[in-house]
């Protein structure tokens, strides 16, 4: 199959259908509308269920129901809508339900704006919902990778019985790029725990639940979840290192900004400044180890985000004081140019 030119949101939706998504529940919000629209047009044709829910709350709770009943299911939204879904995401995490949440991020807080931003890093990686839980967060840097990550997201969610978020900034949702979507059938994990109705013939009742009134039971549940997250942190970190072999300075960026940073790196390299890029592809689990090791080889790091500084705190935790970690960010839908990144790097070179 050859590449086709597709808008990010539509490619994400097509990739989800190709990955065997059984059911999609969504609610309109810019800049992710094309996902809902594509699903409404094509999901039923491939035998799946599409419902335009009355709200993001209802949509994530439909996902909770469908996932609890054993379906491969997904919802999508953008920043304020993802905020509304947090209660349901917490329930999915608590009841250990596999599901995929696609977040096409825009500016905030509040209603914010509709242009691309990365101000939801904390919301995604810390969890806006209540309780001790983690959501796996994948952050693509373009349309092709977004389609691959949607596929990965279904696999990871079923492998670990955990919600997985694909968080892409609005640029990725809205821009068109050449893409080749993997149409190989995605293996389905057995779900002997699912509430499918056949309690009598199965001989046991399957119950989907996040309520544990006995504190001993709830603590044991929290401990079991923590062990699962430890396994995820051990095995599922994905990070891209670019020109880091000989780098004196490491830039850290994810999503669309990582590509702008690459242009800045090429420009600086031509001027003899040895800069490299660390690009987390998983925001949770975060590449703490890889960034900590990189800190041994560079003079400083600079994190570039479309926010006023969120991931930079994780980078500082990773670096653990070994070298300075600076920050450069734009927000509100404003996107930096490569020169702004180069200038930021150069401003920190001066003092040496």
């Amino acid at each position: 199959m050859s590449k086709v030119l597709m808008k990010g949101n539509e490619a994400i939706a097509q990739a989800a259908i190709a990955a065997g998504c059984d059911a999609f529940f969504g609610y309109p919000i810019t800049p992710q509308n094309e996902i809902c629209e594509y699903m409404s047009k094509y999901l039923a044709k491939s035998g799946g269920a599409f419902v335009q829910a009355e709200s993001e709350l209802a949509a994530i709770n439909m996902v909770y129901g469908a996932a609890g009943a054993g379906a491969r299911t997904m919802t999508s939204s953008s920043s304020p809508g993802i905020a509304l879904k947090q209660e349901g995401i917490s329930y999915c995490a608590g009841a250990e339900l596999p599901c995929v949440i696609v977040a096409i991020s825009r500016g905030g807080p509040g209603l914010g704006g509709i242009l691309p931003a990365q101000g939801d890093y904390n919301q995604a990686t810390r969890g806006g919902g209540n309780g001790d839980y983690k959501v796996v967060v994948l952050a693509p840097n373009g349309v092709q990778e977004a389609t691959e990550m949607v596929r990965d997201a279904f696999l990871l969610s079923e492998k670990y019985r955990n919600p997985v978020m694909v968080m892409a900034d609005g640029v990725i949702g809205q821009m068109m790029e050449p893409v080749e979507i993997n149409t190989d059938p995605l293996p389905k994990f057995e779900k002997p725990w699912a509430a499918t109705g056949e309690s009598q013939s199965r001989g046991t009742r399957n119950v989907i639940n996040s309520l544990f009134l006995n504190p001993v039971d709830l603590e044991n549940h929290n401990i079991a979840l923590r062990k699962k997250y430890d396994t995820i942190e051990e095995n599922e970190v994905q990070v891209d290192l670019y020109m880091m072999e000989d780098a004196d300075i490491a830039l850290v960026a994810y999503g669309t900004p990582s590509r702008i940073v690459k242009s800045a790196i090429e420009e600086m390299r031509s001027q003899g400044i040895k800069v490299g890029l660390i690009r987390p592809k998983t925001l949770y689990p975060f590449p703490f180890k890889q960034i900590n090791e990189a800190a041994d080889k560079v003079k400083f790091m600079l994190t570039a985000e479309l926010s006023m500084g969120q991931m930079v705190h994780d980078v500082r935790l990773a670096v653990n004081g070994k070298v300075p970690v600076y920050f450069y960010g734009r927000a509100g839908g404003m996107i930096f140019e490569p020169k702004e990144i180069s200038d930021a790097v150069k401003s920190h070179l001066g003092g040496e």
Partner: protein, 248 residues
């Protein structure tokens, strides 16, 4: 020896968590008997809600999903859309359905989702200790209406059956009560009809059941049943409010 009565297979052996005198237990039995008699236990998924009946997933002898407060109809939609041949019902109280979950219940009916809703109206938040509910009667004393519900500030109680009957997608809406043996038998007939409608693909049904909360109301169990009959049923009239099958 001939067996003249035995507990329905629709209930597990787990002891109920309901207060003595509360009619949730009766309603559970009615629902469970209907599931058994209609031979749908092995294809039913119950959706439990938040409130006194939060543990209902432990009591109904079928698969179950516990839902967030008010969201049970949305969860039911999610289940039904991926298992259209299964029987899906929600079991919700008045705080859950008529307050925090009004959006979900109205929209599930609007979509005409082929599910059954068991709505237990006892005019109070029992689980949290007896606060005012959207269905609390005018003048009724609760822990958050200590001087009695003042309708000038707190509004009139919501009549959900009447409201839901206005929705084109709703196929069957009836209000019953559990106040004496006769009304209990009538309640069972209503519940059974609702499940039969779903079984036949008839669409959305809701049975509102006026129920007691003797602890929250501060009455004896016997006086509570009287309160259902005399006070609640006069504000919330019993009857069939919508029957699409009959009008066709």
């Amino acid at each position: 020896m001939a067996v003249v009565f035995q507990k329905t297979k629709g209930l597990t052996d787990t002891p109920f968590t309901y207060c003595p005198g509360c009619t949730h237990g009766i309603i559970h039995r009615l629902v469970a008997e209907c599931l058994e008699e209609l031979e749908i236990l092995d294809r039913t998924i119950a959706i439990a809600s938040v409130g006194c009946s939060v543990m209902s997933y432990e009591f109904f002898n079928c698969d179950a999903i516990q839902a967030a407060h008010g969201r049970a109809p949305a969860v039911a939609t999610g289940v039904k859309r991926v298992h259209p041949d299964k029987i899906v019902f929600t079991y919700q109280g008045d705080g859950d359905l008529a307050s925090i979950g009004t959006g979900e219940i109205v929209q599930a009916a609007h979509r005409g989702d082929n599910i059954t809703v068991i709505f237990v109206n006892n005019a109070i938040y029992g689980m949290t200790g007896g606060q005012m509910a959207p269905t609390t009667l005018p003048g009724q004393i609760t822990t958050t209406s200590p001087y009695g519900r003042d309708v000038s500030k707190q509004g009139e109680p919501i009549r959900m059956a009447e409201l839901m009957a206005q929705i084109p997608g709703a196929a069957y809406i009836e209000r019953v009560m559990t106040a004496d043996p006769v009304s209990v038998r009538k309640a069972k007939r209503a519940i059974k009809k609702a499940f039969e409608i779903q079984k036949n693909g008839g669409g959305f049904s809701m049975i509102e059941i006026l129920s007691s909360c003797n602890i929250g109301w501060g009455l004896s169990p016997v006086d509570s049943l009287k309160y259902i009959k005399e006070e609640m049923a006069s504000y919330f009239p019993l009857g069939v409010f919508k029957d699409k099958g009959a009008s066709q």
